[in-house]
């Protein structure tokens, strides 16, 4: 069969909403795009453990400590599912991790911002997980089967995290003046970076068109971003807090909130490595990996020994 015919069958499946599975023929670019996107998503989960892990030792109550630890652990689990999903496309976990550590692979820029106060734990849950969910709900219907199925599990946990984050802010919003100030400050710092999570404007996004044709993505960056603004602009009222955007205003004719211009210089700077924590985040990952080398080697050496002993016994 010619490539052209294979491509036709492939696109046909996509158009009919039939999932693409690991052993199916797929265009090389489809494979590459999925590996890039899924591994980037996995790396985001793993790097994302760092800013929240930053507050585990200082969580203000035993309940909050347990919730936070469980949440960070969930993220590790998400990373695992996603690395496994990417492996079905022929990329090894080692290779993906090497690419992260060398800077070749990206992760979500949002995790290059620091978590400065306890309120950031709530704001990250509410805004960052909230933004992530919109993207992930869409990905539950993505065309690559293993990715879509991993996303279904992840979405359940993520929406729980978002509610926990909101609830944590709700407690602060009803607390002392210091707590209310802490809450507003966290929202002020996390709002714009959260909007940037949806990526460049559609007019400037290089990967969007093909991804939509292949149903890897089903909504554009700007559509998802609008959906997020509409959702958060309502929820923030329940907290009695505000979003730091003087242009935020309900537009009756569009039936959407209008909002101000994102600082794209900041966005591109953080993507290029100049965010407040890019260096620290990557260093922390590399350090954990390097310090774990002897542990992984020992586990492997022991497994080999054990196997040869079992073989010797059988013989």
């Amino acid at each position: 069969m010619s490539i052209h015919e294979l491509e036709k069958i492939f696109q046909n499946k996509i158009d009919k909403e039939i999932k693409i599975e690991p052993k199916d023929w797929m265009p090389e670019a489809y494979r590459k795009t999925n590996i890039r996107q899924i591994s980037q998503h996995a790396h985001s989960e793993i790097v994302g453990m760092l800013p929240e892990g930053n507050w585990i030792s200082r969580a203000p109550s035993l309940k909050r400590k347990a919730i936070l630890i469980a949440k960070v652990q969930d993220e590790a689990g998400h990373g695992l599912y996603l690395y496994s999903a990417a492996e079905t496309l022929g990329s090894s976990r080692e290779q993906m991790i090497d690419d992260l550590h060398s800077g070749k692979a990206k992760y979500s820029s949002i995790f290059n911002y620091p978590t400065l106060t306890w309120a950031d734990m709530g704001a990250v849950g509410w805004l960052v997980d909230g933004a992530a969910i919109l993207n992930q709900v869409m990905l539950c219907r993505t065309s690559y089967g293993p990715y879509a199925r991993a996303m279904v599990r992840i979405c359940k946990e993520e929406s729980f995290h978002q509610r926990q984050g909101f609830e944590s802010l709700l407690v602060l919003s009803k607390g002392t003046k210091e707590q209310r100030d802490m809450c507003q400050d966290a929202i002020n710092r996390w709002w714009w970076p959260s909007l940037m999570m949806f990526g460049p404007k559609d007019s400037e996004s290089t990967n969007s068109d093909q991804s939509i044709k292949w149903k890897i993505k089903r909504k554009t960056n700007d559509e998802l971003r609008q959906q997020f603004v509409d959702m958060i602009a309502e929820q923030v009222k329940l907290l009695g807090m505000t979003l730091p955007d003087p242009h935020l205003k309900w537009n009756e004719s569009r039936k959407h909130y209008d909002f101000g211009e994102i600082n794209w210089d900041e966005f591109w700077n953080v993507v290029k490595g100049n965010g407040p924590c890019n260096k620290q985040r990557l260093e922390a990952r590399v350090k954990a990996h390097e310090e774990g080398t002897w542990v992984r080697e020992a586990a492997l050496a022991y497994a080999v020994k054990k196997q040869s002993r079992t073989k010797a016994k059988v013989a």
Binding site: L62, Y83, T176
Partner: protein, 245 residues
Amino acid sequence: MSQTINQTLQLADTCLILGQRNSEWCAHGPILEQDIAITNITLDLIGQARNFYQYAATLISKNENKNITEDTLAYLRTEREFKNFLICELPNGDWANTVLRQFFFSCFQLLLFEELEKNSDTQLAAIATKSLKEIKYHIKWSSEWVIRLGDGTEESNNRINNAVQQLWPYTGEFFMPADYEIISVSSLKEKWLQSIKDVFDEATLTIPQNIFMQSGGKDGVHTEHLGYVLSELQYLQRVYPGAEW
């Protein structure tokens, strides 16, 4: 009454401080699966600590007619009031040190909780029963690591041997009775040694002999490390007194 309270606080403090230390691994583990595993153990320990603190809080509230919560006990007591074993508060060190500490502690906790389960205090007995399921997994996980590292590579064998030298002096405290303890801990020593020996044999490790044993944690006389652990743990409650979180 005060005997039960002190005993309960000792159990709570021990689980909390070890959980606090283990939680430092979260997001920094040697491999993703093991990051998840140690974090599971951390969550179990914090859960156990909460059960004990909640019980102690009920007893103290009743006794002193005050409104004491689990957080009052975990966040507003000082260095000299904490009763945890010294071994729990020691810095994590490397992976060998961390898994070995967990192994020593979990083996002791198993024996202690099997006794506690038979105690006439039904609340303590119930917490022990619930925790035992978790502890058995902690032993399985940590003993497998001790064996793997002991019988793995030359480096891992060196590292776990170092960990044995570092930690052994802190194991004697398990079996030195404090006046408030309701279980005869000294009687658990032989069984504990046997369970360590079984795993050490497989791990090609030897049990150190004639080592001086450190103690004091049970009576609130700690290492210099505990003050720093509590500074971090209690920071927000100390900076914003009376706030709800």
